[in-house]
């Protein structure tokens, strides 16, 4: 049991250390050797240039790359947004990225694939490969969720929370009781 605990603590926040772990897989299932190979060779995870190339080939519209500092700093470095013209196109974008990841890992015993969400309905597909997260949306979904608005306005302003400031101010409690106030000797 102690051995199991030790291995769990060694995988402390793997996404913070820059060793990206695809979230679909259980990190404790990996042995330590496969962890280091994944980190050193970094075969599994697509770099920004490769993703841009794949999106160009698939002809995705309006590709935007946002580096996400401040807010979501711990869990990702880059967020890529892409639009598809139809649900089939959006699904195709996802398939192409996974295919690229598979190709990159030819010859490795254990393939590590990025996790995909929303595959059945082609409205918004998220491909999470650790450091880089790709969002493939269709036009309606992009308008509806307005992700650029969310991130660009968020990183610019970080206004002080007024409630938080009030919470730390000491307020003298009001004495509404009929008893006379006991004077402290």
């Amino acid at each position: 049991m102690w051995a199991a605990l030790r291995s769990r603590s060694s995988s402390l926040h793997p996404w913070k250390q820059g060793i990206a772990v695809p979230p679909g897989l259980n990190p404790t299932a990996f042995s330590s050797s496969s962890f280091t190979t994944a980190a050193t060779t970094n075969k599994a995870f697509l770099s920004l240039q490769e993703i841009k190339k794949v999106l160009n080939d698939v002809r995705a519209d309006d590709v935007k790359v946002l580096s996400v500092p401040n807010m979501h700093a711990d869990w990702a470095d880059y967020v890529v947004l892409a639009t598809g013209r139809s649900t089939w196109h959006v699904k195709n974008i996802a398939q192409a990225l996974i295919y690229k990841a598979k190709q990159k890992q030819k010859g490795v015993d254990r393939k590590v694939l990025p996790s995909v969400e929303g595959q059945e309905e082609g409205k918004w597909i998220v491909i999470d490969s650790g450091k880089i997260i790709v969002h493939a949306l269709d036009e309606k979904a992009r308008e509806y969720y307005n992700l650029e608005g969310l991130w660009t306005t968020e990183t610019s302003q970080k206004e002080p929370n007024p409630e938080l400031e009030k919470a730390f101010v000491k307020i003298r409690p009001k004495n509404n009781s009929k008893k006379p106030v006991q004077k402290v000797a």
Binding site: D74, V79, G118, E120, Y144, N146, L150
Partner: protein, 117 residues
């Protein structure tokens, strides 16, 4: 069952009562999906009172263990409304969101959230 949860996105609902926990016989924990019925709603929102919706639990008063040995526990039970395919109904999620959701494949809610623990 019958747990009243707060709703923390801008889908229009305010309070929601759990009808069924989709995974697990006993309870739904952090990151699980539940079926719920809307008990209180904002007057002009996307969901109305009495509607049956799906939701993802983002705060749970029951503690959740992390892989580094620490445990996370919130003071309230909070849910984010989602449709059957897992797409969030609202466009923004307010408050804190734990990153257990990433492992459970709810990255969409994490992207819409304003703060991640």
């Amino acid at each position: 069952m019958r747990t009243v949860l707060k709703v923390v996105d801008n889908s229009g609902a305010k309070k929601v009562m759990c009808i069924q926990a989709l995974k697990g016989k006993k309870c739904a924990k952090l990151g699980d999906t539940i079926v719920a019925s809307v008990k209180e709603a904002h007057p002009n929102g996307k969901v109305k009172k009495g509607k049956v919706v799906y939701g993802v639990v983002v705060h749970a008063a029951m503690r959740c263990g992390r892989c580094n040995g620490s445990e996370v526990k919130f003071d309230d039970n909070v849910v984010v409304l989602v449709d059957k395919q897992g797409q969030p109904i609202g466009t923004r999620v307010f408050g804190l969101v734990p990153h257990e959701l990433r492992k459970k494949k709810h990255v969409k809610i994490l992207t819409l959230a304003e703060h991640i623990a």
